[in-house]
């Protein structure tokens, strides 16, 4: 428990720094491209169009309201992957800075996750607009988005913490991630629904947190239902566990990272 307390104390101390770097990180990303903000909207839209083309036009598949179906999973997927990838290099790439000043290291992956979260919120707004376009119902269940969002956020944070630690000591992690993430994408019901998975192995799909998250997002945005609360409850517990493990490692090596990067 003590690492949580330590992290919260450090968080309070560095709150202004965290906010400011997050903002400036976003600003840097915006200023370096011509279309700026538009990319945050265009990026998921383009992906959606690609999958619509592949699934609806080429394979002649995709159920009712496939665009929203795929979009409500793609945006969270993008968020997950970019946060995780950015976190992995977050400590390892800040060698110069960390040699100069002391910073509690968990701040670095945390900022990366925050940056990606800001973009994610953008994507959700696009989704809300697209819903009107494709005739998905607006219901009170939309409010429950925040619960799913929070659980998902904790999960990403936990994975980000652990990978940021590994990213310092294990350089091959990037190669492994490239492949793992691809595999993870196809093992998550992004382009298909869980019902398409053979019933015999379907139970295995629940070991993947994305199954729970996607189903919950789709319930909210597409079917006007509540998210899957029991499963979400399980993933809150799991996420807190991995956050704890991540923080423990990061604090243990807090002042030793600087000797190797």
């Amino acid at each position: 428990m003590s690492v949580f307390k330590k992290a919260i104390n450090d968080y309070k101390k560095y709150r202004e720094y965290i906010l400011y770097t997050t903002k400036s990180d976003l600003k840097v990303q915006l200023s370096s491209t011509f279309l700026g903000y538009f990319w945050w909207i265009l990026d998921p839209l383009m992906y959606m169009l690609v999958y619509m083309l592949v699934v609806m036009v080429i394979f002649q598949r995709g159920g009712e309201n496939f665009p929203i179906f795929v979009f409500s999973a793609l945006v969270p997927w993008k968020w997950t992957v970019s946060s995780i990838m950015d976190s992995t290099s977050s400590i390892a790439s800040k060698g110069g800075l960390l040699q100069q000043v002391y910073l509690p290291k968990f701040i670095l992956p945390y900022v990366k996750v925050l940056v990606n979260t800001a973009k994610y919120i953008f994507g959700i707004f696009v989704l809300l607009i697209l819903m009107a376009f494709f005739g998905a119902p607006y219901t009170w269940h939309l409010i429950e988005f925040f619960i799913v969002f929070l659980v998902h956020f904790l999960f990403i944070l936990g994975v980000g913490f652990i990978l940021s630690h590994l990213g310092v000591y294990f350089k091959d992690i990037n190669n492994i991630l490239q492949f793992t993430i691809r595999l993870w994408f196809y093992l998550s019901p992004t382009l298909y629904s869980l019902q398409d998975v053979p019933a015999k192995v379907r139970i295995l799909w629940w070991a993947n947190p994305m199954t729970t998250f996607y189903a919950s997002y789709r319930n909210i945005f597409l079917y006007g239902k509540s998210p899957l609360y029991p499963q979400l409850g399980f993933w809150v517990a799991m996420s807190l566990l991995i956050i704890w493990i991540g923080l423990k490692y990061i604090y243990k090596y807090d002042k030793n990272y600087t000797k190797v990067i």
């Binding site: 202004e16 840097v28 100069q100 002391y102 002042k255 190797v260």
Partner: protein, 250 residues
């Protein structure tokens, strides 16, 4: 209430170089049945202990690679000592660094905040000091352009202006005397002396013996990670010069 600012007790710092694992070499090793450890350890600081009085200015000398900067960074809690402890009896301690966390894409103005927050200022403190910092750096209207458009001199001037506005109880300095062009160098050295002369505890690393002679009350001399001598500036400096001359003659 004791009179000490920092107590360093038997600290050891080691650098562990881990050769990155390489599957080809591992296989060769397995075939040749060679046992080789991948880690190489270097003790940067060995069993170092000393204490520094409140308000004194202490210099650290030693030849290259003797662990001066490591010592400073360990005191600044950037490195963790592998054994021993460092007790700091003051509230704030910071290493004077230039341009930590600068973002080249952002304006100088924004970088003042970015750098300042990293150095431990609060946002209000920066708000209050901002004008003074810009004024001191002498950058003028360029402050609103991205840092990547700055010349390296302008960058260091801005960095120094931010850094020298910190007011910690204990200040650690690692060779930053003299930055920028002639006029700014004079200005910055004056400012630095003001920071040092103020009744705060200062520990500095420098190779400039005249500067140390002028600024420090006491010197710590470390050689290959071991404390060689700790005493008042004149004595240590004489011994150090003698030692260096002897080395040269050999």
């Amino acid at each position: 209430m004791n009179n000490l600012a920092i107590e360093v007790k038997n600290i050891n710092v080691k650098y562990k170089f881990v050769k990155s694992m390489n599957i080809k070499q591992e296989l060769i090793k397995m075939i040749k049945r060679k046992k080789e450890t991948r880690t190489k350890e270097v003790w940067a600081l060995k069993n170092l202990s000393f204490s520094i009085k409140r308000g004194s200015n202490v210099g650290i000398i030693g030849s290259n690679g003797s662990g001066k900067t490591t010592l400073l960074k360990t005191i600044a809690s950037i490195f963790q000592p592998d054994s021993g402890e460092i007790c700091v009896h003051e509230n704030s301690i910071s290493l004077l660094t230039l341009g930590a966390g600068f973002q080249p894409e952002l304006s100088g103005y924004e970088n003042i905040y970015l750098n300042g927050l990293i150095l431990g200022f609060t946002k209000e403190q920066i708000d209050a000091k901002r004008e003074e910092i810009i004024e001191f750096s002498g950058i003028g209207d360029f402050i609103y352009s991205p840092i990547r458009t700055y010349s390296s001199g302008m960058k260091t001037r801005l960095a120094f202006s931010i850094a020298c506005h910190i007011e910690p109880d204990i200040l650690l300095i690692d060779e930053v005397l003299g930055v920028g062009d002639e006029s700014f160098r004079q200005k910055s050295n004056e400012k630095l002396k003001e920071l040092i002369d103020h009744d705060r505890t200062v520990i500095m690393v420098s190779h400039s013996l005249p500067a140390l002679q002028e600024l420090c009350d006491e010197l710590i001399w470390i050689e290959k990670g071991v404390l060689k001598e700790y005493g008042d500036t004149e004595t240590v400096l004489n011994h150090y010069k003698e030692y260096m001359n002897n080395l040269r003659r050999k």
